[in-house]
Symmetry: C2
DNA sequence: CAGTGGTCTAGACCACATC
DNA sequence: ATGTGGTCTAGACCACTGG
């Protein structure tokens, strides 16, 4: 039995209030949030305390500070410059490459046991399943199957995905107002089945890394289930332990 | 070409000075560092600035703050309570278990191309190679091959490892004064060779996750090369993306 | 109780970006 | 020149630990 927190610092309360504003969409991804003096005035605290709250948000990657310019709501739409934040697959030769994406299909269906469990849906609720192949160094690297709650991604079609220029999470954010904040990945090694092998251009039975990702938005609410099969002949999964 | 940093905040400089103290062993792992007022006096700064420096160290996991008690040098010797900080392998059933370890052998040899590259040694320098199996849920889960620079781990023997009660990094820290601070892991999927398969109690050819870890101490200096083969039938590799 | 880290404030000044 | 975030200070007070 854990006792409820008996004390919440002021900066923590301010942080929570700002998160609620972010959640409600008061300031959109990429936009600036109010400057520190204004936040301090609004919440009736010293600038130091407002600053502490914003610091916490920056540590959580919810906002990005830019000296001299302001503090901006974090976004997935400006990741084209480097490698997407959530992509752990890298080329063995060390070259930083934004992976190419080929969409296979977009289907509507009912949530199975696994999907409903991970996404917190009732069995049989509508989901959208999207499949694609990521290319790295000119060869297929990852076969992705992305499962989304139908209610959140109503107008999502193959055309819409193909028309969008940028990362998947950029589309989710700008097109559907769903912000991907954290993810938890679970990795296993499996043998390639014939169908997947064909799409990845490897022999059936080739060892692959199976990545299961559950992505969450505000309040740890799960909004994406992603299963990726990674062929690691010329690339690898990278992880830094701090 | 990157320009040299033109400005270093005071708190950053203090942080660096404290790191040097830590590196020199002025305070040993598990011990308390001087309280904030004392640090402030020693470095002739305000307590707020000293605090900022210690905050940075805490963020880097070099020290651990404990309210009311003090600030302590981080250690790997107190990880028995939970799961070791650098271990990403978890049981599928969610049970938190401290893995059992069976040592296979400890050999002295010469650094090969890979080892010398990753550990920054000259080819042919002496290394110690240690092999073991980690058990999870009563079954072999990971086959580890740990390569260490001979000069740093002079008295390391099979007996010494078996006599030590605690994690490998706990032994390195208390027995050899080498503190493991960060690590970078590179994962690939491979098929089990017959020898490894036997030790992991799986069929030859079974897909495994091959984890290559390079662990570093102060100044990003590499001090361990570890190759692990993970059988993921009843466990998985877990990674949180923030 | 004294000593530790944790919070909050008010104010001065610095570094950076923009006009 | 102005406005933004970033640094530093001095001091008051709170929360937690242990004698």
């Amino acid at each position: 039995m854990t006792t409820a927190p008996t004390f919440r610092p002021l900066w923590r309360q301010i942080r929570d209030l700002i998160v609620r504003e972010l959640e409600s969409g008061a300031w959109k991804p990429g936009e600036a949030i109010p400057p520190e003096p204004e936040l301090a005035a609004r919440y009736r605290v010293s600038q130091g305390t407002a600053r502490r709250a914003v610091d916490a948000l920056a540590d959580e990657n919810l906002v990005v500070r830019r000296q001299g310019k302001g503090t901006f709501v974090a976004t997935h739409t400006e990741e084209r410059v480097s490698v997407p934040r959530f992509l752990r697959i890298r080329r063995d030769d060390g070259v930083d490459e934004y992976p190419g994406s080929r969409l296979i299909d977009v289907r509507r269906s009912k949530a199975g046991v696994e999907a409903s469990r991970h996404l917190g849906l009732r069995a049989g609720e509508g989901v959208i399943v999207l499949r694609r192949v990521l290319d790295l160094a000119g060869a297929p690297a990852v076969l992705d199957e992305i499962t989304l709650p139908g209610t959140l991604f109503r107008g999502l079609t193959k055309d819409r995905v193909e028309a969008y220029r940028g990362s998947m999470y950029g589309l989710f954010e700008t097109g559907f107002g769903v912000r991907m904040l954290k993810a938890r990945e679970t990795l296993k090694a499996i043998a390639a089945d014939p169908a997947s092998a064909a799409l990845l251009a490897v022999e059936p039975g080739t060892p692959l890394i199976a990545v299961e990702r559950v992505t969450t938005t505000y309040g740890e609410r799960p909004v994406e289930l992603r299963r990726g099969l990674c062929a690691t002949a010329r690339c690898h999964y990278l992880n830094d332990l701090g």
